[in-house]
Every structure is written in C-alpha cells, then in structure tokens.
Symmetry: C2
C-alpha cells in the first residue's frame, strides 16, 4: 500500500499513526508541498484536490484522511470503526469536529504561525478553543471520544489537537483533553510527529 | 422525531430535504440564531457546539448534519448509504468536500454577504471555487457523487452548492454541477429553501 505523505502534515500523520497502531505496512511517497509537488499534473491525476494524504491500495485510490481511515478500518482493523448504527454515528460526530473546529481552528492557527498561511489567526484560535472546550466537557467522564474504546474518531482528532500549542493555543485549560492525549500516546505502537509533546510535559 | 431547525441554515435544510425525499416525518423546533436561542443553557445541554441541526429520535440525541444523515439512512433509508466498504468510502470523500471547500468556502462566502459574518470573503470564494472545479470534473462522466445512485453525499453537498450565488460565486462555469443540481431538484419529494434557484435559471 502506498501513501502520498508529508512529514509536516497532521492529516498525513493520521494515516501513519493509524497504520502504526494497527500493524499496517505503508510505502511512503514523500510530497514536498513547499516545492509544489502537489500541483503537478501527475499528482492532480491522483487527487484533483491537490492535497495529501492519498492512499493507493491495489487498484483503489482514496483521497481525504477520513475516507482513508474508514477504508483501512473496514478492510484491516475492524475494531476501530463500529458496525452498529449508534457507534458509527458517534464516530461521525467526532469526525465532524475534526473537520471543523480542529482543522479550521487549531490546524489553521498552526499553519499561520508555522507556514505563514494567510488565514486570520485570532479567528482560527477562537474556533479551535471552542472545539477544545466541547471535547474537554465530553471527555470529563469518558476515556475515548466515540465509544468505550479508541476508534478512528480519536485518530482523526488527535494530531491537530496535540499540535495546538504550535498555533499558540494552550492546552493547559483542558485537563481532560490532556489526559486523552496521554491515553493516545500510551497506545501500543504509537508513533510521534515533529511538534507533538508528551502529555506529561503539557502544562 | 424532533429536529432543531432554522429556515436560513443550509445545514438544517440538509436534514429537511433528506426527510422529504425519504418520507421521514419531522417535528421542527425553530431556533432563532440571530436572537441567540442556540446559546441558552437549555440548548447547550442538547448541543454543546451551539449549532443546529440537532435530531432527537427517542432517547437518541445527535448533533452534526452529517452524523444525522448517517443515522437517518441507517435506521430508515438504507439505500442512501452503501453498506459495502468502497461505497461507504466514496460517500466519506464527498462528505469531506462538504465539510471543507463547500462549508468553509461557499457557505462562509454566503454568510459574509447575507449575515455579515467576519470571515474573509475572497479567501472563502477562492476555496469554494476550488471545490466546485473538483466537483465539476468528477461529475463530467457521472450522474451522482459517490455511487451510481443518489446518496447522503449528494444531500450533504447540495445546499451550499446550490446557494453559492448568494456568496457571489457564479455556478455558470460549472455545467456538470448545474446538471447535478437539476438532478437533485428532480428527485421525487424534493423541497426547496429560500435562495435556491431552479437549475434551469442558473446561467
């Protein structure tokens, strides 16, 4: 299986992390976003959205990190995506938080400060903090986001939450989120990406 | 079944439209967003994200429009959400477009111009047009987004695409998207919302 990847991308890291946790082997193809590798004709033929990650599994090509997580769980790691309707719906809710408050809040704030992207920093931070507050309340009496065990919802939310300090959003006000970060980091097979700190060092 | 709803919300309209197409009865509870009805303690107890739509189906409370679509399809309209992995993955891809280019592009541009929201209009329009270009290419040789029949992916993408002109994003450059809008509007049971024009009048 081939993954079009970039080390600095939290969205690509979702897939690398999930593969590491579930023992899936990936052949990584590095795409240099700063050099415009994602705008070449060859890459646009793979993903017209010009984004990584993209997974190639045999004849199947899948863009979008959440769709890739669903594919990998359904084909090789069924425990991570509930079959029952209520479990699937709870996963969907937190995939939505990952695509909204987390991506357009926390990830955008990081992209402004680290990659000099043109988004509004304060708006992004405000949206991100709103998402963290909702997560923190939800995790007050739960270990994991969607069900009583880790699912792809936790994997989808984790990278840009754990990277939030790079966007100057402190995690110190969200103790349940920090505990959950620690729980993800304690999963067997866990791997890191640059910029993520151990939960024990978040204060 | 109770739906917390607002007439002006494309996200709430997704649920009203899907219910109309599938013969599901909804009791609508109108939430006045301009008056702050979504920030009351009572409403935040239902949805801590302070957003509509929210569905209450017996003892089950579900926030997020995409999670609600999954719930309704799984419990009452199975044809609209494939069970097989590839079909589910293709639906997930277009739900992602609905949450990204469409929501943070087209819907934000509309919200700036219609509701005086503080987002950047040009950035939102640019992101929205990028999404329309991808959709238009995809629909060049397909009738529907995810499979060979309409799915919840079409319903999730439809409202803010059809409302794009309210954000001063013309649909005239995307003929395959306009054809697809017409196909949605031709579905038995289709209902409208304010601001959506018939496909035949989009030029």
């Amino acid at each position: 299986m081939k993954l079009y990847d970039a080390t600095v991308s939290g969205n690509a890291y979702k897939i690398r992390l999930f593969a590491a946790l579930t023992g899936i082997e990936l052949d990584l193809v590095s795409i240099d976003l700063a050099a415009g590798d994602n705008r070449t004709d060859d890459f646009l033929a793979v993903n017209p959205r010009a984004q990584i990650p993209v997974l190639v599994d045999g004849d199947t090509v899948i863009w979008d990190s959440q769709a890739i997580l669903v594919h990998l769980a359904r084909t090789r790691a069924a425990d991570w995506l509930p079959e029952d309707t209520d479990g699937l719906v709870r996963v969907m809710q937190w995939l939505a938080v990952a695509e909204n408050e987390i991506l357009y809040g926390l990830a955008r704030a990081r992209a402004v400060l680290v990659f000099d992207r043109p988004w509004d920093l304060a708006q992004s931070q405000t949206l991100g903090r709103a998402g963290l507050a909702v997560m923190d309340g939800h995790l007050a009496d739960r270990a994991w986001l969607a069900t009583d065990r880790p699912t792809i919802a936790d994997i989808a939310c984790y990278p840009y939450v754990a990277l939030a300090p790079m966007g100057e959003v402190s995690l110190a006000d969200y103790p349940n989120v920090v505990r959950w970060i620690g729980a993800v980091q304690a999963l067997p097979g866990y791997i890191d990406m640059p910029g993520i700190r151990p939960a024990s060092e978040i204060a």
